[in-house]
């Protein structure tokens, strides 16, 4: 095991946006077994400490590769592109306008006749939008169009935020 390798190589899956999740889970379980504390109890303190470090890296790797947004961000970071910093770079106003409208619609859903149905419909719309962005990202990434891929990740970030906002709203309204 080598934690200087990237998450994909560490886990043993191809460096790609399209990750076979079943394969990923398998690779994770194999590595986890090797790292299990019971197998290391007879070893030196240094080796045990390493096992703990590897486990932390392994869990971080899994969490990153499981999430489409984190996976896309991570792929770009391997190319030296940081999408996690807070730059408010100029985005397409039409895209921002739509994001604003979707957020307004979510906020207004509270007063809707059937808030649950309204929020469900909105969530369905946003998640299909998110899937489309993912597909476009996969295409741009495979074609090596990094600028386009970066733009798509930024859009995915807004979409992911909106999805979690809608979930939070649903929790607040219906979890009594």
């Amino acid at each position: 095991m080598d934690i200087t390798r990237n998450y994909f190589e560490f886990l043993g899956v191809p460096v790609s946006f399209d990750v076979d999740q079943a394969r990923l889970a398998e690779c994770y379980r194999d590595l986890q077994k090797q790292l299990h504390p019971d197998r290391h109890s007879h070893q030196s303190e240094r080796e045990q400490r390493l096992a703990v470090q590897y486990t932390a890296y392994l869990n971080e790797a899994l969490a990153t590769l499981k999430s489409p947004l984190k996976r896309a961000q991570y792929l770009l970071s391997l190319k030296g592109i940081d999408t996690l910093s807070d730059s408010s770079n100029q985005l397409d106003p039409m895209f921002l306008m739509e994001q604003m409208e979707l957020r307004e619609r979510a906020a207004e859903a509270v007063e809707h006749d059937d808030p649950e149905a309204e929020l469900d419909a909105l969530q369905a719309y946003v998640s299909s939008d998110f899937k489309q962005l993912q597909q476009s990202f996969a295409v741009a990434w495979e074609a090596g169009e990094l600028e386009q891929a970066e733009l798509l990740v930024r859009k995915m970030q807004f979409s992911a935020k909106l999805q979690s906002d809608i979930e939070a709203l649903e929790d607040r309204l219906f979890d009594d």
């Binding site: 999408t83 910093s85 730059s87 408010s88 994001q99 930024r154 970030q157 992911a160």
Partner: protein, 127 residues
């Protein structure tokens, strides 16, 4: 992290929340977003024929600091000329609201929003 009193005041009593008709020739609209946190901000100004900002409105979906920054800007720019408004600096906003370093980007967003609104208005007038 605790919010400053100024931020809480703007957050709980946001000034000038609302929407203007973006098609109106006297209205300039600035739309900005912070991808890293998914915040979206719309800031609009109504400008008189002699180039003074008569009114301002905003709507922000984001954290308390982003809401407070845009709320503060709508208060400040009323009565300003377009040039004065576009010279507003995020550091002034951050200072007034006592924003901690991790929230400075919220004031940058508000500065970008007013600049975009002024630019939108000028583009309309030039067209």
């Amino acid at each position: 992290m605790a919010y400053s009193e100024q931020v809480i005041d703007h957050y709980e009593n946001p000034r000038n929340v609302g929407k203007m008709d973006a098609e109106d020739a006297h209205v300039g609209t600035g739309m900005v977003g912070a991808p890293a946190c998914g915040d979206v901000m719309r800031l609009q100004i109504r400008v008189s024929d002699d180039g003074v900002i008569e009114d301002a409105r905003f709507k922000t979906y984001g954290c308390g600091s982003a809401i407070a920054s845009s709320s503060l800007v709508t208060e400040w720019v009323k009565g300003m000329t377009l040039d004065q408004a576009s010279e507003l600096k995020n550091s002034q906003i951050a200072e007034e609201l006592a924003l901690p370093p991790v929230k400075i980007h919220c004031s940058v967003l508000a500065e970008d929003a007013i600049k975009a609104a002024v630019e939108d208005y000028r583009k309309k007038q030039g067209a």
